[in-house]
């Protein structure tokens, strides 16, 4: 018990000065009201008792709960003092009794007139006064230390300082060369030069991108049951690049939330919106996609709340917030901003890709010129051709039908019939199934059916299919028909001919889908639809340039079908051209389609592909350059003289790069706009009142004329008037340096959060971020919202540079270093732990960007995976030792090396990692493959370049790991281990080859003077060095 009391005393010591001086509402009263009263007398209208609201002064006074100046008449006091269990507040069953000290505070506050003030976080930050020329960080930290009668610590030694700075700014320890250069630099601005060097390093972007990726819940897989791999690294690389070029934070946010809606948005701005698409995607069998689409938006709001606004918004999903001013309506108004997007997957082209595309485009322009040259009167001929084709197209009339049902067996997925009569497949992607559509036509005579495969923004690359290229293959189509007058009486309809306007040339199925090496299935033209052979399929894939376009197939009946009063068709599409997996990755399913009928004689598919058909349908004045080019090429294909040239163009197109891809957002077309409703208790099946986009009233206002777009939301988030945005990001940056934020709950600045330890510092830094005035050593004057400016300010402070040594007294007084009377000292993030080992051992591959790499994982790890993991191609080359930011992140079964050091899974936004210190982590850095390879490599490195005596080598290795020279006692301990291990090796008690080498190294890699025994003994020592607290800690 004594122990417990001691804790409580020390925990409150930091704010104990409160009792003596006057009452501060925000500090003394508001927390009591939020904690003990707000649940029933707070913002939540539905949960409010006795119609009394106590967090708003007018309501509390009007209800006489508070009579300013007269505590004895205030019902609030009467009730909290009452001894009657039916009267006393809070009700005993809530188990939140008001303490004597709190009662006294409330009494004094009411006596003083019960002044309220707005919660600090909802008032925009203002620069606080400070002595001129003072460093803002030190000014406020010192002022607080003075109040507490504490002295700051001395500056850390240089080696420690450079290690701390390098780990913080780049996530990598300094090299020995960098250390020596700094130690030798006697100029007064030696430290500032290091700051500038590290801020300019490309590794700065990597280190801080990983920090942002936590908040952005980045992962390389979809999550949920399937948890299939996704391509999202292009977004990660965008973040690295944006931070390296110091994209101002307001732009950084705007681009990530609405980059696609910016004027002149290019690929980069569209990639940026991948931020919101980092949400998980559920493609479990039988799900209703809408349910998980809504989950995705809820996740996006949560992420914006934590990462940008610093508010827990999630409560608003089901009800008005209990403590903070956010109503359920306001929650869904935010929701409305995010409710009209396509969940897009877009192709992304690298500079190398784009170079190739430019070259191809140039070649095509050249060939078009040749075409024109070859046919001098090409213009007239093109006109004639176009007129004829246009007439054909106009005459080619089809009646679209609205399906009454579209189903697959066992409901493994649920095709959705859209308002326009098209059918859209989202959710589970079957690799083998049959899709049956029922359509009715009132027409008496039908000569053919037409199946249009259509693009849609929610499909991969726009579709029209759902395979990894956005295309599909249909193995067979079977048509049955019944007269509407006897609609169950179906009979088989024989199809005489199937044609399509897009056909892959006949060949063996794409290797990605092959079930085994003897897989003889074919893909090709539309005739495969009706050849009674499930091993052949129509595949409309026209290659990388044109595959993601609409296309259609026409099924002409052997004889016209006549039913007075109309016909019901049952159309069954067989999909038997998927791969061997049951989880959708190798599906070849259709994405969106429509069924139409005609009664014209001899109907066939159009000869022209859809993009040409579209151009033909446009009035001349609306034709784009691309349309014109497409028309010329299409015409050239039909002319004997130009066929060859057109063929050359097609060849060029087939060399079009496949590109990479990213999940991002795109604005929905008008015809697919959604309305937003408040969802009762957050249930997606219970929409109630319709709402329009809007922002919460407790925050700053929107401009009057702002359109209801995502871009408006994005701009609002980073408005100069936002009370929280700048504070939140300053706080998170601060937290990364010092272990704790100035607000210890970075995700929540609401009324129940602990108040900032240094409110003036937080506010001054927030304003300084938005409107920089403090001069620094940077070459250029800082721009508004520059994160590098913020970093520079923090790391150049004396506060940051303090030694982290701590006395027992100070530890007792301030265990968590909230007062900052010493420098930071803690174990860095998982990624840095791994990167330190790779750097010290010399294994680190500093290559930047690109697809994530698969690290070695323990055998059998994926036995716990629901889906068979056939995509984990463990890196064996240099990629194995890439920085941890590039390690593949699988949500359901993450790489245990990172997970055991508390790396988040990416399931949801994480703005504060836990920092554990567990035996599992110890086992990881002792035994995991990557660490044992690092120990072996460090041993070789030391033997190669660490000098010639044991003592020299120990010093060298010790510095590589910890950046500081070892003390003599440390050298002695290590020397003992080295000697002892050598002895055992010599005695044959240990096997040198087993210890020293792995599948990638061999005795031949040894420097000429070293023996395998040396390498083994050093491997044992290196393993200890890599596990030192001094190695694993930023200090």
């Amino acid at each position: 018990m004594a122990l417990l009391l001691a804790t409580l005393v020390s925990a409150t010591a930091l704010s104990a000065s409160a009792a003596a001086d006057e009452i501060d509402f925000g500090r003394d009263i508001q927390p009591i009201l939020a904690e003990k009263c707000a649940l029933c007398h707070g913002p939540d209208e539905a949960g409010r008792e006795a119609d009394l609201r106590i967090d708003v002064r007018d309501s509390a006074v009007a209800a006489a709960a508070i009579v300013p100046g007269d505590p004895d008449s205030s019902e609030l006091m009467v009730r909290i003092l009452s001894e009657d269990p039916d009267e006393v507040m809070p009700p005993p069953d809530q188990q939140k009794p008001i303490t004597a000290a709190e009662r006294e505070l409330l009494r004094r506050w009411i006596e003083e007139g019960a002044p309220y003030e707005q919660h600090w976080a909802f008032v925009a930050p203002r620069r606080a006064e400070m002595p001129e020329d003072a460093h803002p960080v030190d000014a406020f930290v010192r002022a607080r230390l003075d109040e507490e009668n504490l002295k700051p610590a001395a500056q850390a030694d240089r080696a420690t300082l450079l290690r701390r700075l390098s780990l913080d700014l780049t996530g990598l320890p300094p090299t020995l060369e960098e250390l020596d250069a700094f130690l030798a630099d006697e100029s007064p601005d030696a430290y500032e030069k290091q700051v500038e060097r590290l801020l300019a390093s490309p590794h700065y972007g990597e280190r801080w991108a990983r920090w942002w990726m936590d908040a952005a819940r980045y992962a390389d897989s979809d999550g949920y049951e399937k948890d299939l791999p996704r391509q999202q690294w292009a977004w990660r690389d965008w973040v690295v690049g944006a931070l390296n070029r110091d994209l101002p934070y307001d732009q950084f946010i705007i681009q990530q939330i609405a980059g696609d809606q910016l004027p002149d948005a290019g690929q980069d701005e569209r990639i940026a919106t991948g931020f919101l698409r980092n949400s998980m995607v559920n493609e479990e069998g039988a799900i209703i996609p809408e349910e998980f689409r809504i989950e995705g938006i809820i996740d996006r709001i949560d992420c914006i709340g934590k990462a940008v606004l610093g508010m827990s918004l999630a409560c608003g999903q089901c009800h008005d917030h209990k403590y903070d001013p956010l109503s359920q309506r306001e929650y869904y108004q935010l929701f409305a901003y995010l409710n009209n997007d396509y969940e897009s997957i877009e192709r992304v082209y690298s500079p190398a890709h784009r170079q190739r595309m430019t070259k191809i485009d140039e070649q095509i322009v050249k060939h078009v010129k040749e075409i024109k040259k070859a046919v001098p009167d090409w213009e007239a001929k093109l006109q004639t051709w176009a007129t004829a084709e246009r007439e054909k197209q106009t005459a080619d009339t089809w009646t679209p039908l609205h399906p009454s049902s579209a189903e697959v067996p066992d409901g493994i997925c649920h095709p959705e019939i859209l308002d326009d009569g098209t059918v859209l497949n989202l959710g589970f992607r079957p690799t083998s199934t049959r899709l049956t559509v029922i359509v009715d036509t009132q027409e008496t005579e039908v000569t053919a059916l037409r199946l249009d495969a259509l693009t849609h923004g929610d499909l991969i690359f726009g579709g029209p299919g759902r395979n990894f290229r956005g295309t599909f293959a249909i193995s067979e189509i079977k048509v049955d028909a019944a007269p509407l007058s006897d609609a169950e009486n179906f009979s088989y309809v024989k199809v005489a001919e199937a044609t399509a306007n897009a056909n892959k040339s006949v060949g063996l199925i794409d290797p990605f889908f092959r079930r085994n090496k003897d897989d003889r299935r074919l893909t090709g033209g539309a005739n495969f639809l009706v050849d009674d052979d499930l091993n052949t399929a129509w595949c409309p894939d026209r290659g990388p340039r044109w595959r993601n376009e609409d296309c259609h197939a026409v099924l002409r009946f052997e004889k016209p079908l006549r039913n007075e009063g109309g016909t019901r068709f049952r159309i069954a599409m067989g999909f038997r051209h998927g791969g061997g997996d049951a989880h959708g990755r190798r599906n070849n399913f259709i994405g969106r389609f429509r069924v139409s009928v005609t009664d014209r004689p001899e109907p066939r598919a159009a000869q022209l592909p859809s993009e040409v058909g579209r151009a033909l349908a446009k009035p001349t004045e609306e034709l784009t350059a691309e349309d014109r080019q497409n028309l010329i090429i299409a015409w050239a294909r039909s002319e004997e003289d130009t066929k060859m040239l057109a063929g050359k163009i097609d060849e060029q197109w087939s060399a079009w790069p496949e590109g990479d891809s990213v999940l991002n957002l795109a604005t929905r077309e008008a015809k697919f706009q959604r309305r937003t409703y408040i969802l009762d208790r957050g249930n997606w099946q219970s929409p109630t009142t319709q709402v329009e986009p809007g922002t919460p009233a407790a925050f700053h206002a929107l401009p009057d004329d702002a359109p209801a777009t995502r871009l408006t939301l994005a701009r609002w988030l980073v408005d100069r008037q936002s009370p929280t945005t700048a504070r939140v990001i300053v706080n998170r940056v601060w937290q990364t340096y010092f272990g704790l934020g100035l607000v210890t709950t970075p995700e929540d600045f609401g009324t129940r959060a602990e108040r900032p330890t240094h409110p003036q510092l937080l506010d001054t830094l927030a304003v300084e971020l938005m409107e920089p005035t403090v001069p620094t050593a940077a070459a250029e004057p800082p721009q508004p919202w520059s994160l590098k400016h913020l970093h520079r300010l923090i790391v150049t402070s004396a506060t940051y540079r303090q030694s982290s040594q701590v006395s027992a007294e100070l530890l007792e007084r301030d265990p968590n270093n909230k007062l900052l009377a010493r420098g930071p000292r803690f174990r860095p993030h998982a990624e840095t732990v791994r990167d330190i080992a790779l750097t010290a051992s010399g294994l680190l591959n500093r290559e930047m960007g690109g697809p994530s790499v698969f690290p070695p994982v323990p055998e059998g790890l994926f036995a716990l995976s629901f889906v068979h993991v056939d995509f984990w191609n463990t890196a064996t080359g240099p990629d194995r030792y890439r920085r941890s930011i590039y390690v593949f992140r699988r949500r359901s079964i993450p790489d245990p090396v990172l997970a055991n050091f508390d790396a988040p899974t990416g399931d949801q936004s994480c703005v504060r990692r836990v920092r554990s210190n567990t035996p599992l982590a110890a086992l990881t850095s002792l035994n995991a493959t990557i660490f044992s390879e690092a120990a072996q490599a460090l041993a070789l490195r030391v033997l190669r370049e660490g000098g010639s005596t044991d003592a020299e080598r120990i010093r060298y290795a010790f510095r590589l790991c910890t950046s500081r020279p070892p003390r003599e006692t440390e050298v002695a301990t290590l020397k003992r281990l080295l000697d002892r291990s050598r002895k055992r090796l010599l005695a044959g008690e240990l096997d040198a080859a087993q210890i020293a080498f792995n599948e990638f190294t061999k005795p031949g890699d040894l420097p000429p003077t070293a023996t395998p025994n040396d390498a083994a003994a050093w491997t044992i020592v290196a393993r200890v060095l890599l596990n030192l607290d001094a190695t694993l800690t930023k200090r």
Binding site: E284, G411, V806, L920, T924, L1028
Partner: protein
């Protein structure tokens, strides 16, 4: 009364207290004394066992999670009326507002596929597929009126394990460890064992959400290293390992003397615990000390007990004997949309004997009285048929069965009842939240009071729900 939040603070202070009172000399104590649990009590240990605020009926939990959702209608909840209606469409009023995951709601009904008979003193009706369970029916409490909110696997598994469909909440096991700590000095307090396939819910099923990482379930593997990275790298023998760790400890102690950061002491302790795990892990997995009678009771081949669900059941007993607080077995194998008859036969052959043996074994050893044993999936299966072959059932969240045994629970008891088709609950519904509230009660907690603050809110396993199910309390 115990307040876990306050305990967290106390734990932080106790570390400092230890440093002050005992100097920095943890490392100077010999390893032998580290293994002595009296000394251990002095050692700073955030997982030290704690008394719950209420009088507990049980101290530990073994939860056999049968993922994929076993068919209650063919195993535990006999519906003669359903047999009569087999092949017919269900009455329309039954289906109002109903949505199944895969099938059309008005699919035909499907009668039970197996024979049922009465067992034990109470005459609990059980299917012929679970003869071993029938043998311990008098020790078991059946809840035939379970219900849940989710109808897809991943969300339903997450809900059953964490009390929420939203990812990022702590699992039941993590809450238990947070509330009670662990009595094991050399094994994790919450151990997860898997057989069958991987689960839909993945690691979130045993995650710690916003609780500190030490409360997360630690997956043990039934072959190879029981704990990831437990084995030393190639060629490092026991002596080299001890010598390396001695050197490491010496160096870290010097660092501690220099910097005074208690985290260094915590790191020294973590490495020593890791070392102890290297011994205790293999010892745990070594079944050679078990009698052949015991092995055979679980259905294990006494000469070669292969990795299996049965082996995991036996390991569960061995784990709790060694002070582990919470053991969770996952067996993902029950998603019988089709091939139900053969599938169920096979799954029951794999699991029935060992599940029942665990109950029997615990009882024989006097462990059942303060251990909670739970058996169940994430939801149930429909009375309606799925698939053209007439041999499958879809997901059903309106009613299903779970069974439990042990500390504080009624034995030989059936709680709740479904309607004549096994479609809706007819009596005494038990929602997942109610189950959680009741289990926490048995462990000594008021479920509304075991909380952790995250994002300004006090979270609990039961969210804002949950009622004590008094009907299953002994």
């Amino acid at each position: 009364m115990t307040n876990p939040l306050r305990d967290e603070m106390a734990r932080q202070t106790s570390r400092r207290w230890f440093l002050r009172q005992c100097g920095v000399g943890m490392g100077s104590l010999a390893l032998a004394s580290l293994l002595n649990s009296e000394v251990q009590a002095v050692e700073e240990n955030p997982l030290a066992p704690r008394q719950p605020p209420l009088a507990p009926k049980a101290k530990r939990v073994i939860y056999m999670f049968h993922a994929g959702a076993p068919s209650q209608l063919d195993l535990f909840d006999f519906k003669p009326e359903l047999a009569k209606w087999s092949g017919k469409k269900p009455p329309a009023e039954l289906l109002e507002g109903y949505r199944a995951a895969f099938i059309k709601p008005d699919s035909a009904l499907l009668g039970p596929k197996f024979k049922f008979a009465r067992h034990g003193q109470l005459g609990v009706e059980l299917s012929e597929l679970v003869p071993y369970l029938a043998g311990v029916a008098d020790d078991v409490c059946f809840v035939r009126s379970m219900k849940t909110d989710a109808v897809n696997h991943a969300p339903a598994q997450i809900l059953m394990n964490t009390g929420s469909q939203i990812l990022g909440r702590p699992s039941f096991g993590a809450w238990t460890l947070y509330g009670l700590g662990s009595e094991s000095n050399n094994l994790p307090g919450y151990v997860v064992l898997s057989s069958g396939g991987g689960t839909s819910g993945g690691a979130s099923n045993w995650g710690c959400g916003f609780l500190p990482t030490r409360y997360a379930g630690v997956p043990f593997r039934s072959s190879g290293d029981p704990i990831l990275y437990l084995s030393n790298p190639r060629g490092i023998d026991e002596v080299a390992q001890r010598e390396s760790l001695d050197a490491l400890r010496e160096l870290n102690e010097q660092e501690l003397a220099q910097f005074g950061d208690p985290e260094i002491q915590a790191r020294i302790n973590a490495y020593e615990l890791a070392y102890r795990m290297q011994t205790s892990g293999p010892e745990l997995m070594d079944l050679s000390q078990e009698t052949s009678t015991t092995l055979e009771m679980y259905g294990l081949d006494a000469k070669n007990p292969k990795p299996s669900y049965a082996k995991n059941c036996l390991l569960a007993r061995r784990l709790i004997e060694r002070g582990v607080r919470f053991v969770q077995l996952f067996h993902e194998a029950w998603d019988h949309h089709g091939n139900l008859t053969a599938g169920l036969k096979g799954r029951c052959r794999d699991t029935d004997q060992a599940s029942a043996a665990l109950v029997r074994d615990l009882k024989q050893r006097g462990l059942l009285e303060d251990t909670i044993v739970i058996w169940g999936g994430e939801f149930g299966r429909t009375p309606m048929v799925q698939g053209g072959s007439g041999d499958g059932r879809d997901h059903h969240n309106r009613s299903f069965t779970m069974w439990m045994a042990g500390g504080g629970l009624k034995s030989g008891h059936v709680h709740g009842e479904t309607d004549e088709f096994g479609f809706n609950i007819a009596r005494d519904p038990v929602h997942v939240h109610d189950l959680h509230a009741t289990l926490l009660h048995l462990l000594g907690f008021d479920h509304t009071q075991l909380t952790f603050r995250s994002q300004g809110r006090d979270f609990r396993l039961t969210d804002i729900h949950g009622h004590l199910v008094k009907g299953i309390l002994a």
